[in-house]
Amino acid sequence: MISRKAAVLRRETKLLGSEPSVWVLFAVYTALLGYGALQGAVLYRNDLKQISKTREEYDSRWRRLSEKAVAATHGGAEQVWGSWRSASLAGSEEGGSVAWLNPRALSVLDRGYANRNSFVRRVSLYDSPAAPPLANPTNVMYGSMDFAFVVLWILPIVSILLAFQAIGRDRELGVWPLILASGVSLRKLVAVRLAIPALLISSVTVIGGCVTVLPASGVFPLPLILWATAVLLYCAFWTLLAGWIGLAARSSVFQLLLLGAVWAGAVWVVPGVLESVAEVAVPRVSPVQGIIASRQAQTSLAEKAKQLTQQIYNRHPDWIPDLELTARMNQPVPGGPRRRDARNVYASYLAGEEASSEMTSVKTTRDKAIATLVNRLSVFSPLVSMQFVSEELAGTSPARYEWFAEDAERFSTRWRAFFAERVWRLQEMDASAIEQRPAYSGSEEPWRSVLSRMLWPITGGFIWLSAVTFFFMLKLRSFLPV
């Protein structure tokens, strides 16, 4: 029995290997994987370099500030660091800080949202902006071509081409009755004909993924095993789908056209339709609305800032600076740059933030609602299910960037709290205060929340795989002689 099974396996492998088109297909697929891998490795290195460069730049900036502060304390030339302006300057972009998100090793394979987001976020007393990406919009519009793209879009084509004629070709050539008469176990024959290509494609993909991730990151991340499992199941889905349609439709041309339509629908049309559904269901806050809200906030900014300053001093009367200092501070310096009271600048910023907080809150709520909806809609597409699982494992999903933005905002609150009191007090920054400034240590989103986001895509993936397995088995049962 074992030898017979082995003989079927050997023969089918030989048959597959004797097809030049199979080799061409594998060569093209491997080349595309190689391209995706190379690109991922280069961009991953760039991300790491950018993070370390930015951190170094901020560190050296603070070393300079500390030196100036020490010099000022000892009556040196840098008087500004021993003055009321120092807290405002050190807390703002003159000093400032940086929050960063560590790219996961698997981001080599799946760039996801990394092309649209930065792994670095500036933190300042006045603002913690997410710097807008400088990517060429046309490039973004055409879509990325990373390793994950090859897996998500091209692996299905290769699986289809290798599996759709598992039986159909014999039937078309007229040798099917001969095979039926030979007494070969047809279930085993079909299983072998579908399993060999699927295993080959999965193996090439998984080995390619490991070979890319390991040298680029130097570690073997645990999510790689989960990613490999997902690739295997994704490949199984497309192979079974091709096998099912191959059994259901008689002409090979019709099978190919049908599978082509299914492929185009699954990878192209359905994600686009889901995007439109999400946009209609939860309309985004348009940039124009944001601009109008911001302009409206500007009109009464000075008055609001004054009220806010008053409220702060009512709450903390001990923070009110002495009158002599305030008078000295407001005295204009002829020919020098405008001396703006740091408290006014900060109060104006807080007033502006408060005025536009309603719009910001609406925008954030809508963005979150869209993200949740899109996550749930992933069950409608096997590709989107796989894409979302892959992005979550690679740490390049929009949700992880959202989490990073929130984490950076938490750090920003600490940063502001540290400098704001000194600004209100018009207090000097000495070297020891500079040393005590809050520092971002970098943190990682708990895996539990990552897994909770993966629940819907994983469920969707299993539903699709179960459905196609069921229909394939049903067709196979009716197709084979009892």
């Binding site: 595309l32 391209y35 690109q39 280069v42 760039n46 950018q50 460069k53 730049e57 996801g112 949202y113 649209r116 670095v120 500036r122 710097a131 807008p132 990406p133 400088l134 990517a135 060429n136 919009p137 046309t138 490039n139 519009m141 055409y142 879509g143 990325s144 071509m145 879009w153 091209i154 084509i157 090979s252 041309v253 190919l256 056209l257 185009a264 990878v267 192209w268 049309v269 994600p271 686009g272 339709v273 889901l274 995007e275 999400a278 985004r284 940039p287 944001g290 204009p332 002829p334 020919g335 740059p337 405008r338 869209i370 993200a371 899109v374 989107v384 894409q387 979302f388 992005e391 929009p398």
Partner: protein, 375 residues
């Protein structure tokens, strides 16, 4: 409206969900993809199926020349393609008419642009149909012809644009936002020799201003020094910002040129670029708008600085302006580029489309000769 050039925030393509990471499903994409796919599906067996079934001999025996067979197939299938194209065009015209009615912007050459847009679709579909009939004439088995055509369709529609856009980014990498910001800040703060810009500038400006007005103190100036100072510092800011933004735009343009150059491998990129050009949604139009907005910002800021200079006095910073000042500031108005300008920007794409049209025409002629050899 600040003293610095704004970054392009809220770029629509960058705020879409993760579903569009691998390419958006824009109407232009659907149009090009469907028309070309239709051409392949109806045309792959045009000649090869006749050959396989043996009916080609019947046609030739009845006096039809190979050239007439190939041309007839192209013309017949072309009629079906034109019907599909007309249906699509009519649908899009209705959508455009409804959505542009009452639009607050200028739509003077809207229908000229629409005509150009749809012509690109038709030319693209015709190239594909001619190529399909040519391949069908060259390859004897319809199944192989279909496989070859679908492979090229996937390569041209799916792979080539993405490979092109990612490859140019690897070769011509744009700076990160952080690097870009840091470089601007550095160039604002320091001179090329490493000295701090503000110290030298401040001293020289005070001395020059006092000398030109013949006074010894800033307080004695008959004009507002704040305005003079802001004008001078804004000029420095504008120069630095201008250098860095120009550099970034040039980098994007170079990326674009390389991207378009790769359309010699397939007509998709050139066609899409032309569609974007006609729609006014291409990089060139975006850069033109961005420059116009920047010019307006500079005009506004200069007018404010002028007011601070001429309505102020001495070293004071506070200047009150009346309604005459606000009336002197014109509203921002933007005239979109004429179609001829867009076409000039995409001369390379026009040339590439012309090349592909010629190649597919030559393919038809060669296919006719090939059919001739079957007899």
């Amino acid at each position: 409206m600040t003293h610095e050039r704004d970054f392009p925030n809220d770029v629509p393509i960058l705020s879409t969900t993760a579903l569009t990471l691998y390419g958006e499903l824009a109407p232009s994409v659907i149009g090009l993809a469907l028309l070309s796919l239709f051409a392949v599906i109806v045309g792959y067996g045009a000649v090869s199926a006749e050959r396989e079934s043996g009916t080609i001999r019947l046609l030739l025996a009845n006096g039809a020349s190979p050239g007439a067979i190939v041309t007839g197939k192209f013309a017949g299938l072309g009629c079906a393609l034109v019907i599909l194209w007309l249906t699509k065009t009519a649908g899009e015209a209705v959508v455009l008419a409804v959505s542009s009615s009452g639009a607050p912007f200028q739509t003077g050459d809207l229908w000229v642009r629409f005509a150009g847009y749809e012509s690109v679709n038709l030319v693209y579909a015709s190239i594909w149909l001619a190529a399909t009939v040519a391949v069908s004439g060259w390859i004897r088995q319809p199944r192989v012809a279909l496989a070859a055509l679908l492979s090229f369709w996937i390569g041209n529609t799916v792979l080539l644009p993405r490979i092109a856009s990612t490859a140019v980014r690897l070769i011509l990498t744009e700076p990160s936002s952080e690097e870009f910001n840091a470089a601007i800040k550095h160039d604002i703060a320091f001179r090329p020799d490493g000295s701090e810009w503000v110290n030298e500038w401040s001293k020289k400006l005070v001395a020059d201003t006092l000398r030109s007005y013949g006074v010894s103190k800033i307080e004695d100036l008959p004009v507002g020094y704040a305005g003079i100072m802001l004008k001078s510092s804004d000029a420095h800011y504008e120069e630095v910002f201008g250098i860095h933004f120009d550099r970034l735009h040039r980098l994007h343009e170079r990326q674009q040129h390389w991207h378009h150059a790769l359309s010699f491998l397939g007509p998709w990129i050139a066609s899409r670029a032309l569609l974007e050009g006609f729609a006014g949604s291409d990089l060139e139009n975006a850069a033109r708008f961005s420059d116009a907005a920047e010019s307006y910002r500079r005009m506004f800021v200069n007018a404010t600085n002028d007011a601070a200079e001429h309505r102020g006095k001495g070293s004071g910073w506070e200047v009150e302006v009346g309604s005459d000042y606000w009336a002197s500031i014109p509203d921002f108005s933007y005239q979109s580029a004429p179609v001829s300008w867009s076409l000039r920007q995409h001369a390379l794409s026009v040339a590439v489309m012309g090349l592909w049209a010629t190649l597919s025409g030559v393919g038809l002629v060669l296919a006719a000769r090939r059919v001739d050899t079957w007899t």
